[in-house]
Amino acid sequence: MGIAEFARDGRVVMGDRPGAAVVAAVSGFLLLDLVAKLAGTTVFFLGTRLLGGSLTVGSLLSMVVDGLLVGLAVGLAGIGLSMTYSILDFANFAHGDTVTVGAFLGWVAAYITAGLGTGAPIAELFMLNSGRQLSTVSTFAPVLLGLVVAGVGSIGIVLLIDRLTYRPMRDTDNISLLIASIGVALALRYLIAFVFGTQTSGVASGGLRVTVFSMISVTDNEITLLVVSLLLMLGVHLLLQRTKLGKAMRAMADNEDLARVTGIPTERVIRLTWILGGGLAGVGGYLLVLESGTISFNFGWILLLLIFAAVIVGGIGSIYGAMAGGILIGLVDSLALIWLPSGLTRASAFLVLIVVLLLRPSGIFGGVSTA
């Protein structure tokens, strides 16, 4: 099987040389254009602007920072999607709504603890509409508590969902599982809408603004996102590389049959997959709200395709790929603004997704651990 796979890959790459060449040409052109823009020169050809324009280093840097921050959270959420894909072998369309669930659980916890004693009615706090904006600096303890609740809560939810939905279907084909996950996605999303309504609530805004290198300005909430994401990614790395169960997870993603004859308890590995994936999704969602400031019942669902893009670009099944892919997609989403009108930047991220799937289905970083 390994050999056949290899051969097929080889053939695919061969057949796609022209496609790869086009991609390389386009990337080269964009890079050249970027340099021209930064230099403030414009090149005209036959009366039309060929490349160039103007762009300040400062605005470029702030775009990079934006993209990096969103990308980190997307990557964090993507780890779970990638893991379920490689270990349970299906594309989980409910993953975006797990992100939402985690975010709501976390924010309700943070909001209520921050609001206790302020005299705000409990209903307003629970519904996240007291109008108060939390920040890491001003309400450190509640924000931290919310983070923990987001992780733990979403773990509980995904374990319950696995028990009810996916476990009875362990031996079914991956398309049936995918469809079941669409059902889960609908149910989760509208349960949230049932409880919290469909409005968008503003819940967080930076309490402190720090300027770095006198050009980049970031808030305390953004720094929290950065620090927590990096720490969690490091944690995942250590878990997978150093712990026995983490290694077993990688082993199972690699070769499930061999894992079974080696005595690896596959159900336990699956449980760990949900725990890690669900927890990171919840935390990722919580952090995204911390950064963007607003929360609504379908923000995770809207994010799902971006998470898919991150995971596929990084090579589905690869956890490091998901992290790297997240950052890359975050940057594409943000930097596309240099060339495209703001309404189309998201489309460019999806375009990257499609191009990668067609030209290099194993991802840019090429399946570090393949499914």
Binding site: M127, M169, V184, L186, A187, Y190, G343, L351, I354
Partner: protein, 427 residues
């Protein structure tokens, strides 16, 4: 499981047309009963409203489910970009038929007749579908799914983009209207004209029993849509009950074998994708653009998943099942709960404004506030129900209501020929 089985057994006994007509008629009956129960003196008008709306929904979802059934149920092509192909069809029709001199603030179009617009929309959807299919069809099912859904989102973002809201096409001003959308020749108006022309006596009669003009027009439109469903069914049945359909089924089962039996499977897949997308494009304008107005909001990916739910409930692989599924989904899961929520009240208990107040009633052992809250939010909860039904079906009854049926892909009776061969004797 056993309930579904009994339902299935009974369904099996009916001929297909009877099955579909019976199904839709019973949904109408349910609506009628509801209207009588809650409408008081106004029941007839309410019933016409309910039945009209549910029929439009059934018609729209049935066309979409039939198209998806051709692609997925027959050929195994997991297309979850339905919303995007609907948008292509709808926007093409809109741009072709929108008036050249629109009202202030609206977007101009080419002002062509509606039928030209409809054909144009289908052709464009087929072309875009074919272009999407060319590279994508070699991907495995779940990757194809992701590519198609991403593709449909790109389409939506493009029509939503303000840069295309109004532009000049070879000197002629046209546009998509961007986020605000575009108005064009309303398909509904055609129904209204029809009704007010030849159907004048009918209108008078309807008004006599209290049915309003718009409700009657809506009902007429729904029935027109059902005629389109019937036409689509006829075409698809001929496509699938033929050697062409046989090859499609074979591709779904095992593409390598199909190839080694001499079929150029790629061609079959692309054709199928184009035909299905054309139908999706048609549904895009007839269903979403009923009122002569479309906007990008109407083509979110969610609608794709509703079509999947409809097809899976009915049974993928069966044309009749597609329609039955669409009727079940739109009638019983999508429309009915919302109307029940609006029209059922709990005596004096007013629904609390949020869930906290609703649950607070429990402190005084009063479940009514929560119940009232639930009822008033039933239009949200129905989507939870749809999700749960989807999970239940895929776990317990993956063939849906009718997917287990054997609908052999052929254009003739398959019984052993009576004359000619004398069996084993001559071997």
């Amino acid at each position: 499981m056993s309930t579904v089985d009994t339902v299935r057994d009974r369904l099996d006994a009916l001929p297909d047309v009877g099955l579909v007509v019976g199904f839709i008629a019973s949904i109408w009956a349910v609506m009628l009963v509801l209207a009588i129960a809650v409408g008081g003196a106004n029941w007839a008008n309410l019933a016409a409203g309910f039945i009209g709306s549910v029929t439009v929904l059934i018609g729209g979802y049935a066309i979409l489910a039939l198209a998806l059934n051709l692609q997925w149920g027959y050929t195994g092509l997991f297309n979850i970009g339905i919303a995007g192909f609907m948008a292509v069809g709808a926007y093409t029709t809109a741009v072709l038929t929108a008036p050249t001199d629109p009202a202030a603030g609206a977007v101009p179009g080419l002002g062509l007749p509606l039928w030209v617009g409809l054909i144009g929309g289908m052709v464009m959807a087929a072309i875009v579908g074919g272009l999407a299919a060319l590279p994508a069809l070699r991907l495995k099912a779940d990757y194809l799914a992701i590519v198609t859904v991403a593709f449909s989102e790109i389409i939506r973002l493009v029509v939503n983009w303000s840069g295309l809201a109004e532009f000049s096409l070879f000197g002629v001003p046209v546009g998509t209207g961007g986020a605000t959308g575009i108005s064009f020749k309303s398909a509904n108006d055609v129904a209204a004209t029809l009704i007010n022309g030849v159907g004048q006596p009918l209108v008078t009669a309807a008004e006599g029993v209290g049915v309003s003009g718009p409700n009657l027009a809506n009902l007429t439109y729904g029935i027109l849509l059902l005629l389109v469903v019937a036409g689509s069914y006829w075409v698809l049945a001929r496509i699938t009950n033929s050697p062409f359909g046989r090859v499609l089924k074979a591709i779904r089962e095992d593409e390598t074998v199909t190839q080694s039996l001499g079929k150029d499977t790629r061609q079959f897949k692309i054709k199928t994708f184009m035909i299905g997308c054309a139908l999706m494009g048609l549904a895009g304008v007839l269903f979403r653009g009923q009122a002569g107005y479309i906007s990008p909001q109407q083509f979110r990916p969610t609608i794709t998943f509703y079509v999947f739910a409809a097809l899976i409930i009915g049974g993928s692989g069966s044309n009749t099942g597609s329609i039955v599924g669409a009727a079940t989904f739109s009638g019983l899961l999508f429309y009915l709960p919302a109307r029940l929520g609006e029209n059922v009240s709990l005596g004096g208990t007013r629904a609390p404004g949020n869930i906290v107040d609703a649950v607070a009633g429990f402190a005084s052992l009063d479940p009514l506030p929560l119940l009232a809250y639930t009822i008033s939010n039933v239009s949200t909860l129905r989507f939870v129900l749809i999700g749960v039904v989807l999970i239940y079906i895929i776990q317990n009854q993956p063939d849906g209501l009718l997917g287990h049926r054997n609908e052999p892909a052929t254009s003739v009776s398959l019984d052993r020929p009576q004359s000619g061969s004398g069996g084993e004797a001559d071997e």
